[in-house]
Symmetry: C2
DNA sequence: TCAAAAGTGTTTCTCTTACACCCATGT
DNA sequence: ACATGGGTGTAAGAGAAACACTTTTGA
């Protein structure tokens, strides 16, 4: 008999900073939202735990990894999610004292394994951002290319040429113009865009057999 | 209380065909090697199950995905492995009647979910082969570039120009010459190579911020 | 000497990179 | 008017794709 739990790594970008969602139970340290799994399906349970403990619902969860844990929970199935912080107000659940966003580079003391899970989620986010347009999930319904650009820079922790970025994003067809503009402070008003979401997968262009071999062997969890 | 199990998807390439390792218990249909997890670590238990049921040991396992299952096992953590079939003789374990390699495109009836897990493993293999030199695991200690070429073609299910392939593999530095040659039937003898394995990760070249955005959104398991 | 497989080099073209300038607004 | 962020275009270079020929063996 093994105890199974789900753990949620919900990330956002604010003020050019990557942050993760943490909860605190009375008398306990900060931790990832997490809960025991009984009969339910893993993904179902993960949504439920997130909703119950933080008030967030209706977002995409992606299974990240299953970790060995000690304590009562022996196997923790982690889920990763990306959201725009201001689209989802936080509401601490019943047995939760506080919910808050916490910068990745300034984490408090956490239960064993949680920091590792967060680090792995961060790595995966970075890796996937490089080849899939998932970063739009971190922005509101409509956004400017400047905002998207900033999010990419934060995630990849690199400077991206704004002009090339714009060209590539538009060429990739992952966003569409919304028609309106936004003016905020000085500077020319920026056009607003929205993600094309799933329709886009269909349009997806085949890539040649180009990248068939690569120089990078991503270290993953292996065992002899 | 939830029952946790591990399932192993071990793949090989033979005669230009992708095959997966299946086992059969007395009175049961064919299935992936699998076993219950009790107190052990997941990866440890996965190695053990593989060894006990098929006689194979000492290979790299990569965690693939955790699936919901019905029956007694409610959560199945799957592991993916690539090996050269002829390097590992099969030895059916105690409660196993038969072990065999089975072509992916001609699977027998399997327990619910197993076919899906195999399909997902296949997809992952294909995707990862495109950017990481994992295919060498499917070959013996030493091999010719012709053999490696063939393995790539089988996995990617595409024709790769032999000359460009050779150039790129050598440039990537993932293999090194062994010095000897092999002659088999007519044709010029082929030089033998070996994988540079892990030393190679260090040499790994940084790639520019090139592939920052892409046209492909790999569909993954999501939930609302 | 012929068939079969291994190995080498070159040209073309696309995509990435790097970079300089104009536009529209708030103050 | 000027500072600030938004938007457009282009030229140079690297890398991918396509391709033709020589070499070495067994039969």
């Amino acid at each position: 008999m093994t105890q199974v739990g789900v753990e949620l790594i919900v990330m956002t970008v604010r003020q050019r900073d990557l942050e993760v969602l943490l909860v605190r139970r009375p008398g306990n340290e900060w931790a990832l939202p997490s809960g025991r799994v009984r009969g339910e399906h893993l993904a179902t349970r993960a949504s439920e735990v997130l909703n119950t403990q933080t008030g967030i619902s209706g977002i995409r969860l992606e299974q990240l990894f299953s970790f060995d844990r000690d304590g009562t929970t022996q196997v923790a199935v982690t889920y990763l999610a990306l959201i725009a912080a201001d689209r989802y107000p936080l509401a601490p659940g019943d047995d939760i004292v506080e919910v808050r966003w916490c910068p990745l580079d300034d984490l408090p003391s956490l239960p064993p394994g949680h920091a590792g899970a967060i680090a792995y989620g961060h790595e995966r986010l970075r890796a996937k951002t490089a080849y899939a347009p998932i970063a739009v999930q971190l922005l509101p319904e409509t956004f400017t290319l400047g905002e998207l650009h900033e999010v990419y820079e934060v995630i990849l922790d690199a400077q991206l040429d704004a002009r090339n970025f714009r060209r590539d994003v538009l060429a990739a067809g992952v966003v569409e113009e919304v028609g309106t503009e936004r003016r905020s402070g000085p500077g020319r008003p920026a056009r607003l865009y929205r993600s094309r979401g799933s329709e886009f997968a269909v349009i997806a262009q085949e890539r040649g057999p180009a990248e068939r071999i690569s120089r990078l062997d991503v270290p993953t969890q292996h065992t002899e």
